[in-house]
Subunit: 440 residues, 2 copies
């Protein structure tokens, strides 16, 4: 195949799914939050679908008391990926980790261990963490962006230098000659920043891909600067093809500005498909999942449309007067889509079931509808691939893998098998060994 | 069985064994440093021997360039134990972690995740870290003991409070009523120390044993204070039954001083057995393993005996004159044993093969000789059990499990199977839920 194909990654959160009420959806084991067999099973399902990577988000804290909703994250992303590494063979393993609330040596060590353990499948989604609740768990406050991102640059530079502190062929391990390693090819790094520092070396040999891949998620100028310099993959947050194209171009330009080949960064658009036998069934799936959370979202939807809406109207569509008065908010990029859906005459409940308040676009309908969405975005040059967020893992991953993936494959848009063994292979980005020549 | 039986734990280091040259011993795969299949296989062998726990040491650094000797540690203890948790069912999983170079929230989170993942088998060997090489990897220096141990107290208190931040029955997960958790039973901890602080709660429910077990290794007054207050297991470093009895009593007294039942702390003596078909074969095993390191140890042995020895005498015993002039050094607790072995007329090479410079006593001979050693110490009240350090894992664990364990079982000194499922069960110490009543 010489045709360019799309790359898929899968969000893996709390063991239930990306909809807040997934923990009590039919067929879901309510104990999955603490059940690593389930996490491994979901990873294996994604691997069956030839996904390039799993992506585990992270916040070191609890955003609200989990009275009705489960926490949205796995207990610990790195520990979970170590478990998953042992139960999978090909799929990439990307964990989010904070550059602010971890020592670079510890981050470097654990990600490199995951990389070696998984035979070159690890990635690090480096985030600076902006939530004061997280900071409080470390007895700290959130610094302003310039400080946070300065520390992020230092932390990533130190981590990458530690990862490269054994050169490619440093590990001799020759039992005949008795040479374990070549000391000339294992050097301290001696990096001293304003926030963090490390001497090194890290006592870990290269993995099959050299070292872990750096991911960056979310935009902003500071994020772009980080991505352009270090990342091989960026997860975006956009709601239209035009925005995604612009974001992808900005990421590629940031790479060029940092002296890199723009093809070394792959840009992923998010998608949160709602899939069933028909559009109505797909909406019903989301209505059932949203029952408890939709009422509280009605006023928010109103604000997106410039209207004052309340829960009494949940099962009705907007009136003609309301539709006429509606003005999509310029401050929320999701408003235009909400406005279009409202104009189609759906009830408020069904408008919400269209995922108009979710974090990424939601194609609603059959597997074919989701495939069409991915094809349209991909062929428009809006993304190199997609970050797929499944509503309920228990059945949703299988549905995607067994129904959407074959359509994409038939259309020549998606690979029929892994071409290589490492995450860098899957992303089509180069191996990385030794020290960054731009340092030092 | 009402008779008290000994508890065994196994040191698991770098994938080769606890002798520096184990990486090139016959039958050993030189790639095991990076091979987690091997680590899991060794863990499974220890589990076959009904060991209560694996113990992974830790230093966040490389003590010397690994030119001829492999680094003595696994790539990362927690990640390794996550992998091992997935391949074992009963054995306890104890990782060493520094109280100085980790944030308490991160430590608490990862150990609790291991505890949940393993269904209640996790333990934390809390160390303050005294090696400046490690500190340099964090851009820091080593503080004096009072500072280090003050931070250690704060860190352990925060970790235990975070572990207890979900009460025993906080996690409702009732899909019918829609209640995920009981918010009244999940509380912030709000601990503020001089060095570290955390708000909490940690979003992780209790494990089958409530929370991880705290271990402490090595003595000193500061270490004793830590052990007495928090630990359920202490690994000692002693070379005689009398010293071990004294250390065990000191540990038990420290528990009483902290208001605890002394039986809640189990004391483990270290042992590094050399086992073969005969004493000569056991010595030969160690001679083969020590070939490269023995020459450099001759002067050190001399110092232990008050003699000036050099490598030219490696294959000869001490002369009559030397034996008469020898004075065991009062500064090294191993000297007396070295002196006794020397008097038996062994060559210097064979004296070293007796393990007289190793970190723990080395019974040399058959499986029966090792069983005799363990029995003698155990029946003298010198230990509740043993921390077994195997010279070469590849064959040495099987030898211990298949040859020493059955002898101990026949003598009624060792259990024939696990009585419970959690590490606390294996240690015979109580479950731990919620907050320490002494705090607060
Ligand atoms: C797809 C996606 C996933 C993200 N995952 C995380 C995450 O897991 N943890 C986190 O702290 N932030 C996450 N973020 C947030 C961003 O990394 C970033 O913090 C955000 O864009 C705010 O930027 P700022 O830190 O410059 O304010 C994610 C963003 C996107 C778009
Ligand atoms: C059996 C045993 C195992 C130990 N393992 C470790 C270890 O893995 N990492 C570490 O930093 N220290 C380890 N230690 C050292 C002690 O925890 C402690 O640092 C030492 O007794 C010095 O005490 P100090 O910190 O008060 O100077 C170990 C000690 C013993 C006896």
């Amino acid at each position: 195949m010489s045709k360019r194909t799309m790359i898929l990654g899968m969000q893996l959160g709390n063991g239930y799914g990306s909809q807040p009420m997934a923990w009590k959806a039919p067929g879901v084991d309510a104990a999955n939050y603490a059940n690593f067999d389930a996490h491994v099973r979901y990873a294996q399902a994604a691997e069956r679908g030839k996904f390039a990577f799993l992506f585990l988000p992270d916040f070191a804290g609890m955003s609200k008391a989990p009275e009705q909703e489960a926490p949205m994250l796995t207990l610990d992303p790195l520990m979970t990926l170590a478990a998953i590494a042992r139960g999978t063979e090909r799929i990439g393993l990307v964990a989010t980790g904070s550059t602010t609330f971890n020592e670079p040596y510890n981050t470097a060590r654990q990600f490199k261990t995951l990389d070696v353990m998984s035979h070159g499948r690890a990635g690090w989604n480096a985030v600076t963490t902006s939530d004061p609740l997280v900071a409080a768990n470390y007895g700290q406050e959130i610094d302003a962006r310039p400080e946070r991102y300065e520390r992020a640059h230092e932390t990533i530079q130190i981590a990458q230098a530690l990862w490269g502190s054994w050169e490619k062929d440093a590990w001799i391990k020759d039992q005949q000659t008795g040479q374990f390693a070549d000391p000339d090819k294992i050097q301290p790094i001696n990096l001293q920043g304003r926030h963090v520092a490390s001497r090194g070396p890290l006592p870990i040999p290269p993995s099959e891909q050299g070292q872990p891949v750096v991911f960056q998620a979310g935009g902003g100028d500071y994020g772009l600067g980080l991505a352009g310099r270090y990342a091989n993959a960026v997860i975006g947050a956009t709601f239209t093809i035009e925005d995604a194209k612009a974001q992808r171009n900005a990421v590629r330009k940031a790479a060029v500005d940092a002296g890199r080949d723009p093809d070394e960064i792959k840009y992923f658009a998010g998608v949160m498909p709602a899939i069933a036998g028909s559009k109505r069934e797909a909406l019903d799936r989301r209505v059932a999942l949203g029952r408890e959370v939709f009422p509280a979202r009605v006023p928010y939807l109103g604000a997106m449309l410039g209207l004052s809406l309340d829960v009494s109207q949940l099962n009705q569509p907007l009136t003609g007067e309301q539709l006429e008065a509606a003005r999509p908010s310029p401050f929320d990029p999701r408003s235009q889509r909400a406005y279009e859906v409202a104009q189609e005459g759906w009830s408020i409940r069904d408008i919400l079931a269209h995922g108009v308040i979710d974090y990424h676009p939601t194609p609603v309908g059959t597997a074919e509808d989701t495939a069409d969405h991915l094809q349209e975005w991909f062929e428009a040059g809006a993304a190199d691939g997609f970050w797929v967020s499944i509503d309920v893992y228990e059945d949703g991953i299988d549905t995607f893998v067994d129904e959407v993936v074959p359509i994409l494959q038939e259309r020549g848009l998606y690979h029929s098998d892994y071409e290589g063994t490492t995450l860098r292979d899957h992303l089509g980005v180069p191996e990385q060994y030794g020290q960054d020549p731009r340092l030092g």
